[in-house]
Amino acid sequence: MTALLDMREISMVFPGVKALDRVSLSVEAGEIHAICGENGAGKSTLMKVLSGVYPHGSFEGEITYDGAPLRNRRIHDSEEKGIIIIHQELALIPLLSIAENLFMGNEVATNGVISWPLAMQKTGELLRQVGLNEPPSAVVGKLGVGKQQLIEIAKALSKNVRLLILDEPTAALQEADADRLLDLMLELKAQGVTQIIISHKLNEISRVADRITVIRDGAAVSTLTKAEISEDRIIRDMVGRDMAHRYPEREPNPGEVLFEVEGWSCQHPEQAGRQMIKGVSLNVRKGEIVGIAGLMGTGRTELAMSIFGRSYGKSHAGTVRMHGTPVDVSTVPKAIAAGISYVTEDRKALGLILDEPILRNISLANLAGIASRSILNKRREAQVAESYRKQLAIRTPGVQQKVVNLSGGNQQKVVLSKWLFTNPDLLILDEPTRGIDVGAKFEIYTIMKELAEADRGILMISSEMPELLGMCDRIYVMNEGRIVGELARGEASQEKIMALIVKDVGRAA
């Protein structure tokens, strides 16, 4: 077999981060090539380089495709050559029909006039090809994610795809839908479509992939053939070090109960009567780090946000206690006053004002702390920001720097500073290390450890199980809006957490 795609020594630097460090990737014609690596390892960046999201010249290195150098000026250039990428976040327009979406930007038209009968007929053929039984006129937004994924593939087929890139295609899918998708991938392979799949799920990879390239911290670590694929090997390559050294040593010393939630429930904000959180009870002790594990979409973020000033949902019920006394958390200012902080999952959209400087972001949640009689003391503001910059080692030339220029890890430290300045007793950290490189992760863990040692309580939500196992004194397992189990530090393991979830899924079904 010959190589269809050859990416050599690709390097890419963003302000503050080296996203890719001389990564090479070779994909042979007709194979399914898997790329795996941790969050933030550089997988998606590499694919964006390939598809032309980052044009030729914005990175170093050479790409050869089909025997000729590939120099994309824009996405359109790579699409013309049959390289189609399906992103994690689907790029469909929910209010339009399947047919309209399929030929978006590629309309079946003569002289700018669309021929709908022809478009509908072609759509029908493509849908049959991907095994989707829906009328071409169906509105995309009303279909499930699994079906939308198939529409994306049909769209790729309509563009005469030769190299199809799927970025975590099954992340949001139910198992049956995921299975169907993997079958389709094998079918496409039989038809000669070369594919790249980015995935964390090792069972999927070993089912469909011919070869695997593991990427870690922006560098390609290894390329394994089917015979060499084993879970242990992949994990070792992905992580690159022993679990023991990825988390700071700490000796848990939990005190009395600090934070208690009892019978907490709430409904979906728009769909009346849909119960999202169902009678959750949990507690956090002083100096304790407690985790909430669960699959995506099981209501962990919704739970945290609904407690934090009813920022999510409606028809809330249940009690929240701090230091044994019931507290009013019906608005964000009240929750903050009760000593609760919530570090959001999506720091760019919900945590930071990107165009403002670091010091203004840090003071935002506690402006009273730098003001007297409502008049700001800017000297104090600068001092506060400066002290957090030193304390949390925020790497920046100065606190006047806009946060948009910082790397993910440093941005997260700014968000943490903002909340620490409100002097909380309890910090709820929602995916605190998402999209952060490994070194910065360790720093965030160290900050968490120090906070716990200062007798604060930490409730950590995370989708990365190793992180929960490495950091938490106790782990609650959540599924479908309920707590389905609680594991102490000693007894928790990835298998046990999964078992609790799977058992619950079985019970629900």
Binding site: F308, S311, V332, Y342, E356, L364, L367, S374, L376, Q400
Partner: protein
Amino acid sequence: MADQKQSALAGHLRENGMLLALVAIVVLFSILVAAQGKPMFLQAPNITNIFLQNGHVIILALGMLLIIVAGHIDLSVGSVAAFTGAVAAYLTVELKLPIVVVIPLTLIVGGLIGAAQGYWVAYWRIPSFIVTLAGMLVFRGATLWLLGGQNIGPFPKAFQAMSSGFIPDLTGLEKPHGLTLIVTAIAILVVVWIGVRSRARDAEFGITPEPTGLFWGRTVIIAAAMAFVGWQLASFRGLPNVLIVLAVLTILYAFFTENTVQGRRIYAVGGNEKAAKLSGIRTERLVFFCFVNMGMLAALAGMMVTARLNSATPKAGTGFELDAIAAVFIGGAAMAGGSGTIVGVVIGALIMGVMNMGMSILGVGIDYQQMIKGLVLLAAVIFDVYNKNK
């Protein structure tokens, strides 16, 4: 370090650029006017008129800045100014109420109008563009209705003084106007002192200060300009009341936006509403406040215009909203919200005012005036975007 130096310079570049543009425009008109053999452009009556004729734009722009910083827009201010002007005229002329009652009452009416619009924008999340577009139509109609299609006027002297009066000369000097000179001198000292202080503070906070030459160059130009304007005004009829009102409001709003908790929060709301909300800021209440404030300032502008024209007319205030919005964007605010300064906005409004007056003196037709103003707005915003992308 390089990054930071750049961003500090870029920040200064923007403010200095605005000021430079204003100076350049003034110089340009001075030359053009002289070339036509007309009397000096910067003579006292013209200077006075720039403030009298554009005072309402500056006042509206102050409120509009808060609205735009919060991420909204208000298209209704022209109609609201017309309506509140008509209300003031009705109260003064038809009901014969004294001015001390009319002014607060009209401001309250303006505030209520702002509240009525702000309520839908803030608490119902109806786009401000739509709410205030509706308000623009409603209050234009309400003005016609209240005036019955007629003009109301003339007004008693006390009411007119609001827009066309001058401060009394308490020193008894009269020629030149002594109090005007004293106020000018104090203002110059204050401006220099504030400049020196904020520069010292920049250094203390580790912000790269602008080069010493640039700072003093600018400060000297500003001080000289103020001294010149003060002297000219003093040799004419003294400081117009309008200028005092404008100066006080500008200082108040500049202080509010830069140095108070609520002012800071408005920027946060415009910068990232969700993050602001999750940081414990009551975003709805702030947006509501911005609209109430806008309504009151529109009422003030409405009264000033009505007093200057000495009659309330159904057509008053047409296009005011666009002048105010243009001043805000020329002044460097971002369409998306979250940025913009009061000083920038005032300079923006002055640039427009000087251009209006200069072109009128030169005898440039209204057709060309509109086109040129439009292009200046576009150029100012392109300059911003270019700087940001560089």
